[in-house]
């Protein structure tokens, strides 16, 4: 028997509101199945289960706001008929261990604070996110009255939206989903800039061969089969980082963990503001057409608010492309706990020297923001050169 509990979808997440069950008691579930939809600061997310078995009972009710680690459902393993104790302990369990890249898993406790908090002469009990926010705002924790279990100070107390003893059914109902998303972005980006020593390299690359190849390839295809330049960029980044592995992984309390799997997060600008970067899982294994289809699917689901929990937590580096018109370069902020962000400016037409002659060419500027604790300039330059070489032979991508 296992307890399926509210996962952490990022270091700044404290709770989620259950909005839909995708399974019912008696349903068989498999590793990776989406079982419920929760509303978070980053929008509605489909959460996946990481065990096999049969749903025995749903523990959480729709509309309930639940802390990370709270039990959501009881799952029976293969062969089990019913749990030995009909009344399961309401003791929250840690989030599934099978997510190797849960952000800062060792550093940030995923269980909710205990209900009884020992009186301490030191700092008041506060959640990690609340501590970070208090530090950012210069707020003294001792001056705050916590509204969490046992008086623990939670993020909303710091933001002044805490309501003391009253329990609110929704996630900070005082602010709109967009304000919530801005808060999540603010927390992640502030943390990144305060803790990650960024190093930046950039390089402008002739992409005329890729543009010409793409135009010819799209010409006799129906719209649904066409490729965007962005798919070539994502494909080239995925292949280049397979060679220069040091940019791919997570940095946690005990240092850098390189990832063998490459799951590039694709930064998707949401209309009306906001940004999410869901992961394109195992991108190097895809063909170029599959990469394009995967990106279309991610963008569509990001805008519809139907991303999966693994896509929110298992990205191993981020790609942010400015699109086909606009500014030529961006130096991005790394999305923790990742260690690199690849920025691609909008392609420009520039005078370029080809075989000793100045000619107009389409060029793009790639930038890499990397965690200098992990990577050095030479390695990043090698990554950029590999990317450039791959784009010169687009037919082989």
């Amino acid at each position: 028997m296992g307890v399926f509990s509210m996962p952490s979808l990022g270091a700044d997440m404290e709770a989620g509101t259950l909005v839909e069950w995708l399974v019912q008691p008696g349903d068989k579930v498999h590793r990776g199945d989406a079982v419920a939809v929760i509303e978070t600061q980053k929008g509605a997310i489909e959460i996946e289960i990481f065990e096999e078995g049969t749903v025995y009972r749903l523990e959480a009710k729709l509309g309930e706001e639940l802390p990370v680690g709270a039990p959501l459902a009881i799952i029976l393993a293969e062969g089990e008929t019913s749990p030995p104790d009909a009344e399961p302990e309401r003791k929250p369990e840690a989030a599934p261990e099978h997510r190797p890249f849960a952000p800062d898993a060792p550093a940030e406790p995923t269980t909710p604070p205990p209900t009884t908090v020992p009186v301490s002469m030191g700092a008041p009990a506060a959640s990690p996110a609340a501590r970070v926010r208090a530090r950012e705002l210069g707020v003294d924790l001792a001056s705050i009255k916590g509204s969490g279990p046992g008086g623990v100070i939670v993020l909303s107390d710091i933001d002044g939206t805490g309501t003391g003893a009253q329990s609110e059914p929704k996630l900070s109902p005082a602010s709109s989903p967009m304000q919530e998303m801005r808060k999540a972005i603010a927390a992640a980006m502030t943390r990144s800039k305060q803790t990650i020593p960024h190093v930046y390299l950039s390089h402008t690359i002739d992409i005329q061969p890729a543009v010409d190849w793409l135009t010819a390839r799209n010409e006799d295809r129906t719209p649904a089969e066409r490729l965007l330049l962005g798919a070539l960029f994502v494909r080239a980044v995925a292949l280049a980082v397979k060679k220069v592995k040091v940019l791919n992984g997570h940095y946690s309390a005990d240092g850098f963990h390189l990832s063998d799997t490459v799951n590039p997060g694709i930064a998707v600008a949401l209309r009306g503001g906001g940004l999410v970067a869901p992961a394109l899982m195992n991108a190097p294994a895809m063909t170029l057409d599959e990469t394009m289809a995967g990106m279309r699917d991610l963008v569509t689901r990001a805008r519809a608010g139907r991303l999966r929990s693994s896509e929110m937590t298992e990205g191993t580096l981020t790609i942010s492309a400015l699109g086909e018109t606009g500014s030529e370069m961006m130096l991005g902020v790394i999305f923790p706990p990742q260690v690199a962000l690849v920025g691609l400016g909008a392609p420009q037409t520039r005078p370029w020297i080809v075989d000793g002659t100045v000619v107009p060419r389409r060029v793009v500027t790639i930038s890499v923001s990397a965690d200098h604790r992990v990577a050095d300039g030479r390695q990043i330059a090698h990554f950029i050169t590999t990317f450039e070489t791959l784009l010169q032979l687009p037919e082989e991508l």
């Binding site: 135009t215 799209n218 010409e219 129906t222 719209p223 649904a224 066409r226 965007l228 330049l229 962005g230 600008a269 209309r271 009306g272 990106m295 279309r296 963008v299 569509t300 805008r303 699109g323 086909e324 018109t325």
Partner: protein, 84 residues
Amino acid sequence: MTETDFRAIFLEELTRVAPDIDSATVGDDDHIQDDLGLDSMDILNLVVALHERLGVNIPEAEYIEIATPGLAALYLARNSVAGA
């Protein structure tokens, strides 16, 4: 179908791609990228939707001809079988 019908279909598919746009506020000369903020993925999705609905296969080189609702209505009327 008339040009007005094609304009309505174009706006319907446009707002399906970008649900936050209120079609009542879109002017004939609003540029779908510069004024309405569609990106290249949105435009591809719009072109796919128009292809599926009207059978009009808009080549990449002609995307410029659907840059505003006014232009798009003319273009679709000219190129659609139903518009003939």
